[in-house]
């Protein structure tokens, strides 16, 4: 099970809100974590850092292809984002940085702000408020990337395995 306490957002949360462009000079998740959701003020940013799951409406992560929008959330301790839908660049960056991005509109609707949200990747379900919501399982190729903790560790494993052969 992955997850924990959630913080809930609405539709169209863009990458400039998640990680302002001025901080892209860093690729250190811990450093980036200090600036997640900064444009929305310290109260919201603090709540994100005290949560493990983000729940959102449509088109989460729209805008820039900046990978730090995903890796900054990882640095802030977020392990999963459950949304009604994702922008494709954020979805890819999430998988590639080892962050679960799950499209489940009913779960996103049902989850209460601050409630516990858990993801069972094997059973492909999101659990919150005593309800189970299933989602289409990830393709095998994406699961392998997530299992390795992201694309770079995954490709590093592949390269090292090829070298050992």
């Amino acid at each position: 099970m992955i997850g924990g306490k959630c913080v809930k957002f609405g539709d169209s949360v863009n990458t400039d809100l998640i990680m302002p462009g001025r901080y892209l000079v860093s690729i250190d998740p811990a450093e980036l974590a200090e600036h997640v959701f900064e444009p929305l003020g310290p109260e919201v940013a603090g709540r994100v850092r005290a949560s493990q799951v983000i729940v959102a409406g449509r088109n989460f992560g729209c805008g820039s292809a900046r990978e730090q929008a995903a890796s900054g959330l990882v640095g802030a301790g977020i392990t999963a984002v459950i949304a009604a839908s994702f922008a494709r660049t954020f979805f890819r960056n999430a998988i590639n940085t080892g962050l679960l991005a799950i499209t489940q509109p009913e779960a996103a609707e049902a989850a209460q702000d601050g409630a516990e949200v858990l993801v069972d990747l094997t059973a492909a379900t999101v659990k919150t408020g005593g309800q189970d919501f299933s989602f289409p399982p990830y393709p095998e190729s994406l699961l392998r990337i997530l299992d390795a903790g992201g694309l770079i560790p995954y490709v590093a494993q592949q390269i090292s395995a090829a070298g050992a052969r």
């Binding site: 444009p39 940085t97 694309l151 770079i152 560790p153």
Partner: protein, 428 residues
């Protein structure tokens, strides 16, 4: 089975006989672009434990954001890229003088019909202007693809957008796209390939096609595409690209589209995207008179030669309103050179503009940013909160013509109310 542009292109890039929407394929990009994020890609490469590149000729690097460097950290990052490119034989390395990656690579003839391009920039959809497929990815993905040569891609569904022309005077590709984004909203084409057609797209300039395809990203698109034609071929020929060096791809008749949208071009008026989302669109009539502190003519969406010429046609013989800053950031060195050569630059300067070095400039928050409570009218493609300085500032988006008219009036203005000066109106 009848195939879309995206299905044909990804089947080719994956080396398979056919690929249908929804399938995942391993696709080999023809060109892998990284911009200011290049140093991040290099750092990721170090973690891979190898620096054996699949094909250095498929790699392009352009130092467009944060350029020239304004901190020692950024200077070091750019130095790393310069040295890496030299050490690995990356010939398509463009330094801080060149301009915005998308425009630089297109002008250099590196973008050709039928190519698959990935880039560390969401607006990589712009390459569809020449009948190629471009899409944005993160820096880890670019580093991995440098080594492996391929990445997984889901074959997208396609959306057909037919635009009837001609547009009314004072109305441009930017207005078409803002109207479309307002109608379909910011996720109206998420993960889709957007194919443009209709009498407006046929024979349209490459510059305006770039604006169409650039802004398709603001619908959530994965690819954008304008079918190649004589305009495309002439553009490439002028840049020394031989006709036999590329293969044009066209959708089959009867290909399946998730959605078909028709735009009545002649009825459109100039459009404005209001704070703080791109899909918050109004006709200019609704927001005319909104006071601005700054006007920015820049970005990969609208700082090409034709865009500067359009703005100059309105600014000629006029002056920027008192107390308003007009910042012009040409998209590329080539654009700047042309603007110098034909006097456009002088017109802009005489009108009171500040002209900066080519690059991303204020659109990336690099200079020309705003204080609390200030308002900018920008020709860029995003108006998200905090993108240009203060989180308490506002960004409106419009065409270069709207920008020029707004600079003159000091408030959002309809360019149709300011007749163009003599001799500078350009053919689009």
């Amino acid at each position: 089975m009848a195939a879309t542009f995206a299905e044909k292109l990804l089947a080719g890039a994956a080396g398979v006989a056919g690929a249908s929407a929804g399938e995942i394929v391993d696709a080999y990009p023809d060109l892998i672009m990284s911009h200011a994020a290049s140093w991040r890609c290099i750092r990721m490469l170090e973690r891979l434990g190898t620096d054996r590149l699949f094909d250095p000729d498929r790699i392009a690097m352009v130092m467009d954001h944060n350029s020239p460097a304004y901190t020692a950290k950024t200077a070091g990052d750019q130095k790393l890229c310069r040295e890496f490119a030299a050490a690995h034989g990356i010939a398509k390395f463009y330094d801080v003088d060149a301009g915005i990656a998308h425009v630089v690579l297109t002008e250099a003839g590196h973008v050709r019909p039928g190519m698959l391009l990935i880039g560390t920039d969401s607006h990589s959809t712009i390459y569809g202007a020449l009948g190629a497929a471009g899409t944005g990815v993160g820096f880890s993905e670019v580093a991995a693809t440098w080594v492996t040569g391929y990445l997984w891609m889901r074959v997208p569904e396609s959306v057909k957008v037919d635009i009837d022309g001609p547009l009314a005077p004072g109305v441009f590709a930017k207005d078409v796209m803002l109207a479309l984004i307002g109608d379909l909203t910011a996720d109206g084409a998420t993960y889709c390939s957007v194919e443009f057609g209709g009498s407006y797209a046929e024979g349209l300039s490459v510059s305006e096609r770039m604006t169409l395809c650039n802004l398709a990203m603001e619908l959530g698109a994965k690819f954008a595409y304008v079918p190649p034609d004589e305009v495309t071929r002439a553009y490439l020929e002028a840049r020394g690209v031989p006709r036999d060096s590329y293969t044009e791809l066209f959708p089959d008749p009867g290909a399946a589209y998730q959605r078909e949208v028709a735009i009545d071009g002649p009825s459109l008026s100039p459009q404005i995207s209001c704070p703080h989302t791109v899909d918050n669109v109004r006709p200019v009539e609704d927001v005319a008179g909104t006071r601005v502190d700054q006007v920015f003519i820049g970005s990969c969406a609208n700082a090409k030669y034709e865009d500067l010429a359009e703005a100059a046609s309105i600014l000629r013989g006029r002056h920027v309103a008192s107390g308003v800053r007009l910042i012009v950031t040409p998209a590329s060195k080539n654009v700047l050179q042309r603007a110098v050569a034909d006097g456009i630059l002088s017109v802009l300067l005489e009108a009171g503009a500040l002209v900066t070095n080519p690059g991303c400039g204020a659109c990336a928050g690099d200079g020309g940013v705003m204080a609390d409570g200030e308002v900018t009218l920008s020709t860029a493609n995003r108006n998200f909160r905090g993108r240009m300085g203060s989180y308490q500032a506002e960004i409106y988006l419009g065409s270069p013509a709207v920008a020029a008219a707004t600079a003159v009036r000091g408030a959002i203005a309809d360019p149709r109310e300011l007749a163009a000066g003599p001799g500078l109106a350009v053919t689009r």
